[in-house]
Amino acid sequence: MAVRPQHMHDGGIVERRLRPIYDWLDNGNNKKALQEAEKVLKKSPSLQAARALKALALFRLGKRTQAHALLDELAAEKLSDDTTLQAMTISYRESQQLHKVCELYESAVKVEPLNEELHSHLFMSYVRVGDYRSQQRAAMALYKFAPKNPYYFWAVMSIVLQAKTSEDATKRGILLSLAQRMVDNFITENKMEAEQEARLYIMILELQEKWEDILKFIESPLYSQLVPGSSAQACIPYLKKLGQWRRLNLLCKDLLWDNQDRWDYYLPYFDSVFQLMKEGEGEGEGSADDTAEKCHEFICQLVESMTSGRTLRGPYLARLELWKRLSESGDPTSLLGSGVALCVQYLRVFANKPCAVPDLRPYMAMLPQKERQEQSRDFLTCLGFEEKSEPETTMDVQRHISCLAAWRLAAAPMTAEECLELANTLRTHYLRSFSKGLLTATLTEFCATDGYGILAAHHYFYAAMQQKSTAPVVEALCLLELVLSHSPANFHVKLLLVHLYHFLGNAYAADSIYQRLETKHVQLVSLGWLHAARVSTACAPSRALQLLAATAGFYTHHAKDSVEHLTYAYKYGTFEKLVELRAWGSRLEACVWGGIAARDRALNTLLAGPAPLLHAPAAPLPESPADNRDLNVIVSFEPPEYQDPDLKERTFDQELAYLRLKDALLSSIALCIECSDSRPLEERRRQYEELKTCIDAFSEAMEKCKQKYSVKERISISTPFPSRIFAFVNSPVPYRELYYEGVLMVGALAVGDIKEAQERCSNVSALTATAPELLRPHLATDDWLLRDTLETLANYLEFIGIINCLLGVCNELVAPASTKKSKKKANQSPDEIKTTEHLNKLNETVQSSITFLEEAFEKLPLHRYESNLEKEFSKLTIDKQFGVCPVETKLQNGRQDMITEIQNLLKRKSQCLKSLIH
């Protein structure tokens, strides 16, 4: 963030002297900035602005104590110089001491009570800490001597926010009527002058549910003066609230005559028709549509009114919507005929557009399943196509693909053989397009033909799932890589590739494509499930660490930035957005994926980080957790009976349960470490008690989750793989007991309960000793189960990382590094010697576990690679070269890189363990 204030007051010497300091700070060279500041201070030691900038430079150099001392000193001087105050504000903001900014400006306005700028900074300082009452006070004080509209509405908004957050209904009512009165007065005095002020007024009326008043206001000359040309549209929600269906109906019809493609007018129109139908006999006045017949007639008129030129989808889709709504309460066929026929008709008109299938998808579910399946071929044949048709133009290719896709959405699922046959046919279509010059993709635009490849990949996948064989998946991967190499912009293909490489358990191959998606910023949140969340389960911890660090970076950055956006919203008077921005900030803070990523990162660091230090995430678990995943990004071509409307909610619940488990585990480890440091025994005991509660909670939750999450989710091509909670709680290795005994072993040792520590230690040893035997039957011999095997192993690797860390802590407890080795042995009591023996035993057991793991990774099944794509390609009579299909190499290298990484890492762990033996 730039440090330099936007307006420097003092155009003279001071500014000239400060300029180099600002330059260095803005360039990130804080050391130079500090030197420069000191140079200026030599000449004028009391220059406040220079001291404030020095403090900022010190803070950014990590010299917090010095920085804060300087800031405190300055604060005591009762400043009012804007340059100094702003520099101090930045320091406080960066050190998350926002309340100090409030204090700073509180005393500044005392020095200069009529300084508008200082008052407005004071207001913003309250905004940053969310102190609405003080905001109100500051805004009113400002308005009194600088009577400008924005200040007045800052005060109004601050009252509204107090009302919104008040739990006391009476208080809320009083606050809202106060806010309303304040605006009413302004309106009477003819002082309202901006659109956003009008919107704030509507917001206040909405919160009081005064729908009538809102309508009156919207219809007033003032509203159309402030918000020109939108009154009609603005009435819609309130007419609905008031149940004025007849008026709503006429209004929407009017709007639709001029905007036949606006879905946001159709929906309230339909609402009004169906309400009027329910109400029955109306007054009959006007030409409101109060029957399905009239509604249909209106839609037909819209269709007919479309003159030459563009055919709009609106009226056609409206007919489908009418069918759908009628089918919910009765039989639409007498009026509209068969639903399948209507859908087919839609396809016939719009099949040349890529949106035809996405448009139809939501309406497939309304069709009676039997009828839909029986007549599904109508979708394929309505334009004269069949599976093997060979369209000659790109337009016809798009039509063919739309018809094929709609047919598959409508039809009954096929057998594996049928899927394979169709996939092969589609692949042939794709290959044929080469020789026909139908591949029109460029670096930045993809083309219709890609659709053959995508649809083929989906069907290869369906076949694979039925046959429990990876061969069709490999076939899909080869084809998709070919499509991508000729259509590098096609992100649908990239998404499928990432997902399918993960399906085979190959994180590195997936990563090669993921990087080409160039996901960043907020996409790290919405698309984290696709890749970043899978990498550590596929045993690629160092790449996982990189991805998780990038994710964490996004959240940290946002946490620092988000309050600033609120100040912008006040500055520009966009009050509606203010509420939205606040909610958005909390939604990101409460992100479950963000929580998992932070914990996954901490646990991965224990395993694969440069030093096995625990960086427990500072942020506590969110109170109202938020699901920010975008699960619609991969397109599905499965029929409606496979659609799973609860999937998002259900998988979110699983992710949340997993987050809670991992949080409890990580908190326990953190407590272990805390109660083993040099704090007094009394405090340690307190920590130990806390540790017991924490690990008990973990243990109980593990048990509950084991019962709740026993049946794995169905795997589909477009949704996340089953949550990690399944493999974790159902693991053959008893993690509940292992972690329970493990952390309590450390705790007991830390408070000197030697006997208990020894007992727990031998329990962990015994449990660890059996782990290899328990894991062995779960190691795949066939590549079909490789992904599951890797996840099982990843969980065990996580244990290796944790137990290593715990043994390190124990080592510090029994033989602190500060004492010399020779001394240690000599001074040990018999009890201490026994403890050391127990720990050595556990250490050796973990080491043999590591040997087992090394062998297990060596023996992982190879990916089978059989594809006849290259052969098929060579049959084409074109001079294009196939090039080398990268799939085989990617799979082999990915596997080898993973094994090498894990073995190196295990070697390091083993060496580390050996160094702890005494």
Binding site: E321, C355, P362, T519, S526, D561, Y572, E576, D630
Partner: protein
């Protein structure tokens, strides 16, 4: 078939099917929130009946005196919803807002290589006002066209008299 509504923060979680397109930049969060906080009426989204984001437009109003104008910062349509006239619909909205704000003209920058977009803007009445040299950084840097269309307030269409010599990015105000 479209719902046109103001872009909201939550749309950022579902705009992947638009933003994964290589010509659409995904900016840092604060870039979007700044536009939302400053020019909410200029940030509109087109949504399909099933709730998918079909495209969006992001813009602002800036400049002094006769340079007061609407600016298109980003206009993007998902590949699945192209050739439906959506870009024109969104541009219309931005022009309407600019008219209401009494702007003199609307302008935008486009890569000189982006023939499809340039043609579309020409069809919507935009002219190439000037060339901005090496406006887009990359390997190699690419020039931009600064395209303009006059609003009704600019009665004499002064704002759309092309400048014949190219300018450097730092000279663009």
């Amino acid at each position: 078939m479209t719902t046109i509504r103001p872009f909201t923060c939550e749309d950022m979680l579902k705009f992947n099917n638009v933003n994964l397109d290589p010509l659409t930049e995904t900016y840092g969060l604060s870039f979007y929130t700044q536009y939302l906080a400053h020019w909410p009426e200029y940030f509109q989204v087109a949504e399909s009946p099933s709730g998918e984001i079909m495209g969006y437009i992001m813009g602002k109003a800036e400049g002094h005196g006769e340079n007061w104008h609407g600016h298109v910062t980003a206009l993007t349509v998902s590949p699945d919803y192209r050739r439906l006239g959506l870009a024109a619909t969104l541009m219309n909205i931005l022009e309407d807002v600019s008219e209401k704000k009494k702007a003199y003209f609307v302008d935008l920058f486009v890569r000189v290589s982006n023939k499809v977009a340039i043609n579309m803007y020409k069809n919507l009445g935009y002219i190439v006002y000037r060339t901005v040299l090496e406006y887009y950084s990359g390997d190699p840097d690419e020039d931009a066209y600064d395209m303009r269309k006059a609003c009704s307030r600019d009665v004499n269409k002064k704002s759309v008299i092309p400048v014949t010599h190219p300018v450097r990015p730092e000279d663009v105000d």
